[in-house]
């Protein structure tokens, strides 16, 4: 039995005017670290709110630990932990009071399950008498995670736990998730940061309420259809504009210090691909041109799938 299932879930808001998620189906296996990857407005929070029984779907069914999200909502609420995207603890209670409150609410004690949160809680323990509203963003995030874990949930739902968090704190947070996974907890986590996708076992790329792709991160990048090249030269912005005008360019966009470029007709004919591009760029007066093959990343796949998902591909892909 999978830990989470969604079958043909559809949810609209504003009397059907806003389509939040459309015919969404996927499963999360027990003990899996599963990522929902997509930008704001993709429908990630709607999925979380349906699974945590806080929202009713218009159509479709969903289960958590075999329990139906509509019929068995009370049992689900006792069995899962949920960290919403927006900080939702009691701002006027102290760190310690919040933790005890949530433990009591779930009919347990902090002492009983302390082992599970020890590593995380010790980082905020020096501030245990501070009111939650007065904590920094990083500390709020740790306290929220402790409160979501204190009743030892079987499934943990984390909605954008790392949004707005700096690169160092994000790394630390993912290390914590790995340790929780080792405890056997199923984790469903969402993020708008594509680089975090690689840290999940399986991911669903989601955009405008629909799944673009669902697989392991390795398989998703392996399925990238074209050969991808990393290109750079002295004047990177002029380079971008010039490559977009090159007739054989399929797509060209910024990617860190390089541009990522793919060609029409793939790599069958090098004359129309990278070699042709080099000649073209030399004629355009570019200096220190570097063109080398590069593996696709999740972000490349997402950009490619977004373009494919849309009928007017040229509108979306910045080619």
């Amino acid at each position: 039995m999978p830990a989470v299932t969604l079958e043909h879930i559809t949810k609209t808001y504003d009397k059907g005017r806003i389509q939040a998620v459309t015919d969404l189906s996927f499963t999360v296996e027990k003990g899996e670290l599963f990522g929902l990857i997509g930008p704001d407005g993709a429908g990630k929070s709607t999925v979380f709110r349906i699974l945590t029984t806080l929202l009713l779907a218009d159509k479709g069914t969903a289960t958590v630990e075999g329990l139906d999200t509509v019929k068995d909502f009370k049992k689900i609420r006792g069995a899962v932990g949920y960290m919403p995207g927006k900080f939702s603890l009691y701002q006027d209670l102290t760190v310690e009071e919040n933790l005890h409150f949530f433990a009591a609410l779930f009919g347990t004690t902090v002492e009983k399950n302390y082992g599970l949160i020890k590593d995380i809680y010790e980082q905020i323990k020096p501030f245990s008498t501070r009111r939650a509203g007065k904590l920094s963003g990083g500390m709020k995030q740790k306290l929220a995670l402790c409160c979501a874990l204190i009743h030892k949930p079987v499934v943990l739902f984390l909605d954008e736990p790392t949004t707005g968090v700096d690169a160092v704190s994000r790394k630390e947070f993912w290390d914590m998730l790995k340790r929780l996974k080792a405890e056997g907890i199923t984790i469903l986590v969402s993020t708008p940061y594509m680089d975090e996708a690689d840290l999940c076992e399986r991911i669903a790329l989601i955009q405008e309420g629909k799944i673009l792709s669902i697989d392991t991160p390795a398989n998703i990048v392996k399925a990238y259809p074209e050969k991808l090249y990393a290109v750079r030269a002295d004047s990177i912005h002029k380079l971008l504009l010039d490559i977009r005008l090159y007739p054989d360019t399929l797509s060209c966009y910024s990617f860190g210090e390089h541009l990522h470029v793919s060609f029409r007709n793939g790599e069958k004919n090098d004359q129309n691909g990278p070699e042709g591009l080099r000649t073209y760029l030399e004629q355009k007066g570019h200096n220190r041109i570097e063109i080398k093959p590069t593996p696709a990343t999740i972000e490349d796949s997402f950009i490619r799938l977004m373009a494919g998902n849309d009928k007017g591909a040229s509108k979306n892909i910045p080619a």
């Binding site: 930008p39 920094s136 949004t163 708008p192 594509m194 910024s254 910045p318």
Partner: protein, 247 residues
């Protein structure tokens, strides 16, 4: 006007016995894209508030768009643009109403407003949505519109506080196209971001740690200096040593 958009020397802000910003010094050239990076709580927001004329420094000197941060706060506000992920446009106003509102606040004449309004809506391809409420637009569109509105009065500098947070990867890049265009027109860009690939798009960047600027250079030079292959590694090497994590 001087060639420097921002000149900042030993700028400091203390709250009681807490030094939020500790003697930071840097200069930003006119038309430059300057990345202002740092971990959460490093002091970026406090520094930005002083540069935008919203808060007085405790000590140190700074000139923004040629105006003094102690004595000419109102002149600074008129000559800069500002947008962030949190504060951008009024959701309950239409696209046209937002443009009129902000243009009006920045003192554009009715005639200027009308032509700017049409120009902006056409450039962004929002003709069909012009009379719709901003609240119903996808985030990416909101942010592109917010940026265009933030520079509607052709400011000398625009401050962008995490403008692309939560935006999809395609729209994020389109947003940077707008930044490049504005920079090419001579508008100085002062931008913060948590996306390290975006640090690469800046001409120069500084990285704040515990209230200080611990590094300042072009992305290429910083990577060389820290023997790193990506900006992510540079950031990690610097921010890992941070003592504080307050926001």
């Amino acid at each position: 006007m001087s060639e420097k958009a921002i000149v900042c020397k030993d700028l400091t802000k203390e709250f009681g016995d807490f030094t939020a910003v500790n003697k930071i010094s840097f200069e930003v050239n006119t038309g430059e894209i300057y990345g202002f990076l740092g971990a959460n709580g490093a002091g970026k927001t406090t520094a930005m508030r002083m540069l935008c004329g919203l808060s007085y420094p405790t000590s140190g000197e700074a000139m923004v768009a040629g105006f003094n941060v102690y004595k000419q706060q109102e002149s600074i506000k008129k000559n800069i643009g500002y947008m962030s992920q949190k504060f951008s446009l009024y959701e309950n106003l239409t696209i046209r109403e937002n443009i009129e509102f902000y243009g009006g606040i920045y003192g554009l004449s009715d005639q200027q407003l009308k032509s700017k309004e049409d120009e902006l809506i056409t450039t962004l391809g929002l003709e069909k949505e012009a009379k719709k409420l901003v609240g119903g637009l996808p985030l990416g569109w909101k942010q592109k519109l917010a940026f265009s509105v933030a520079i509607i009065h052709q400011p000398k500098i625009v401050f962008l506080d995490e403008p692309t947070g939560g935006v999809d990867p395609v729209t994020r890049r389109q947003f940077w196209d707008l930044i490049y265009e504005a920079s090419a027109k001579g508008i100085t860009i002062f931008v913060t971001t948590h996306y390290m690939d975006e640090a690469e798009y800046c001409g120069r960047i500084s990285i704040m740690v515990d209230g200080r600027i611990d590094a300042l250079d072009t992305p290429a030079n910083l990577k060389q200096q820290f023997s790193a292959t990506t900006m992510d590694e540079v950031f990690y090497a610097l921010a890992r040593g941070a003592k504080r994590s307050a926001d």
